[in-house]
């Protein structure tokens, strides 16, 4: 029995290396996993605070309507009533915070309209779609359509 133990003793060595590796892994794991990991889900709870610290990019519909009354009325009476302002004008939180110094650029109408209204077989049939090149022959959309209420 003693001889067997002596002749198989070397097998304990790779096992020890493996156990040592495992122990190092567990120590590192214990040290680097953030506290409360998994409290709300498979993530760090502190990540929520970090995300909250990001500055808001969108001002929100109500902020826009507070000043732009005329455009709001035009839009409400047309087909774009349910399209949010910042869907076309882009995120405007900096403008809402400082409307004197931060002036938003007007959208590039030719590209903007085509983004939704370019003809595409995947879109519902009743959605207004045109092949822009044939439809206007290069004339920009807002020459004929008013973007806030696009009906002619």
């Amino acid at each position: 029995m003693n001889r067997f133990l002596r002749d198989s003793g070397h097998l304990a060595r790779p096992a020890l290396v493996l156990v040592a590796g495992l122990a190092v892994f567990l120590v590192v794991r214990g040290a680097v996993i953030p506290k409360n990991f998994g409290k709300y889900g498979h993530y760090r709870p502190a990540a929520l605070d970090l995300i909250r610290q990001h500055p808001a990019a969108f001002a929100g519909q109500d902020q826009c309507l507070a000043c732009h009354d005329e455009q709001a009325k035009t839009r409400a009476s047309g087909k774009h009533a349910h399209v949010a302002c910042e869907a076309c004008h882009g995120p405007q939180a900096p403008h809402a915070a400082d409307f004197v110094n931060v002036k938003p650029a007007l959208p590039d109408v030719a590209a903007l309209c085509a983004r939704c209204h370019e003809n595409d077989a995947a879109k519902p049939k009743n959605f207004p779609q045109v092949v822009t090149a044939e439809h206007s022959g290069g004339v920009v959309c807002n020459t004929c359509h008013q973007p806030h209420n696009p009906h002619l």
């Binding site: 001889r3 070397h10 794991r29 996993i33 595409d120």
Partner: protein, 388 residues
């Protein structure tokens, strides 16, 4: 839009899984295949393949060390992959791969190589000088016991490790197939047959790789090739390839007969975008070609030189064919739209993070590692034969 034909959803236009993800199952497959070949001698007592036993183990190790690298490069943030081990999620197939990989590397392959090479390591630790002596000293793990009884115990434990290694190798590679087979939204991938097909193609490519490496090693060392060994390896290559091909054909027949809503779209893709890589390279050049060559060598008797050349040709074609298979699975599965109304194009970049250049480097790396491993742990056993 250039490269797009018909209708694609916006998130389908650009391929997310690139050439590097083609390399990943290819390299992992070579590992599993090489290990299965090694187990032929150890567990199934196929004595004829003994000259390739150690070579197959080193091949498996060299490729296994490189296997996660394409994924790391693809991730872009390699340091994040470590988090997968720290906080694994049960629903993450990739996290499970990490553990299967580590199990296979440490408990199976490194242990088996250590047990197999222990007498050589101890001998080198006692006879070599300088730095190499210390390397071998470290590899002995502090035990220089080479008594006949200890070697007998090593042999038995090695046998058990190989027996555990076979299902582990199956798990490692079947699992790579599982990653694709379980994507239920993709009809090109989603089939329970995927792990099995991946496994058998892995065995085929691994056996072919070891055959080529064995012949090249013998040529470089100017040592006569053991033709009995080569004939046997080629015979097993033929058998596994026949099973692999039958499984792939079963899959094809099943898909064609079933002809679900995706069939017309996928069939069109195979006849257009994948024609060269799937039909010409994978099926004709990389499968029927080597199968025909191997079948002829089984049926007719040829001279040794001709047989050697035929085996090498068949093996190289097999390696090309299996690579094409991985390409067609990974890339092919992303070329069509889920709407079944359109197709996109994949253009490989050259000197980019996921381009051709890093892919070539990643394919050369296992051979560099193999060379280093052969230098460190010479697999040649002629001296033992002469001593005996």
């Amino acid at each position: 839009m250039s490269g797009v034909e018909g209708f694609m959803y916006p998130n389908e236009v650009e391929l997310q899984w690139s050439l590097l993800i083609v390399l990943y199952p290819y390299i992992t497959g070579l590992v599993a295949g090489a290990f299965i070949l090694a187990s032929l001698e150890r567990v199934f007592k196929v004595e004829a393949v003994k000259p390739t036993y150690r070579l197959a183990l080193l091949t498996a190790l060299a490729f296994l060390l490189v296997a996660p690298l394409p994924l790391q490069l693809h991730l872009g943030h390699p340091e994040r992959s470590f988090e997968m081990y720290l906080t694994p999620h049960r629903s993450s197939a990739m996290a499970m791969f990490g553990f299967v990989y580590l199990w296979y590397l440490t408990v199976v392959l490194l242990l088996e190589i250590w047990l197999e090479y222990r007498p050589d390591i101890v001998r080198f630790a006692q006879t070599r000088t300088g730095v190499t002596r210390w390397i071998y000293k470290a590899l002995t793990l502090g035990s220089e016991n080479l008594s006949p009884s200890s070697l007998r115990i090593d042999d038995r434990v090695g046998y058990v490790v190989t027996v555990i290694g076979i299902p582990s190798a199956f798990l490692l590679h079947g699992y790579v197939g599982f990653i694709f087979g379980s994507v239920k939204a993709n009809p090109w991938w989603s089939t329970p047959l995927m792990p099995v097909v991946f496994l058998f193609s892995a065995m085929t490519s691994g056996i072919a790789a070891v055959l080529v490496l064995y012949v090249i090693s013998m040529k470089l060392r100017k040592t006569p090739i053991d033709m009995r060994c080569l004939d046997t390896v080629a015979k097993y290559l033929f058998y596994t390839f026949v099973i692999d091909f039958s499984l792939e054909m079963l899959d094809l027949v099943q898909r064609t007969y079933e002809a679900d809503e995706s069939f017309r779209s996928l069939d069109f893709m195979v006849h257009t975008r994948l024609w060269l890589s799937q039909v010409v390279i994978q099926i004709f050049l990389g499968t029927l070609g080597p199968l025909a060559v191997l079948a002829v060598t089984q049926l007719r008797t040829f001279s040794e030189t001709l047989r050697r050349r035929l085996y090498i040709t068949a093996s190289l074609l097999t390696l090309v064919g299996i690579f094409a298979m991985r390409w067609n699975v990974v890339i092919g599965g992303q070329l069509f739209s889920k709407s079944f109304l359109g197709y996109t194009t994949y253009k490989v970049q050259f000197a980019a993070r996921e381009g051709l250049l890093p892919a070539i480097a990643l394919m050369i790396l296992p051979f560099v590692l193999f060379y280093a491993l052969v230098k460190l742990l010479p697999p040649w056993q002629e001296h033992k034969a002469t001593e005996a």
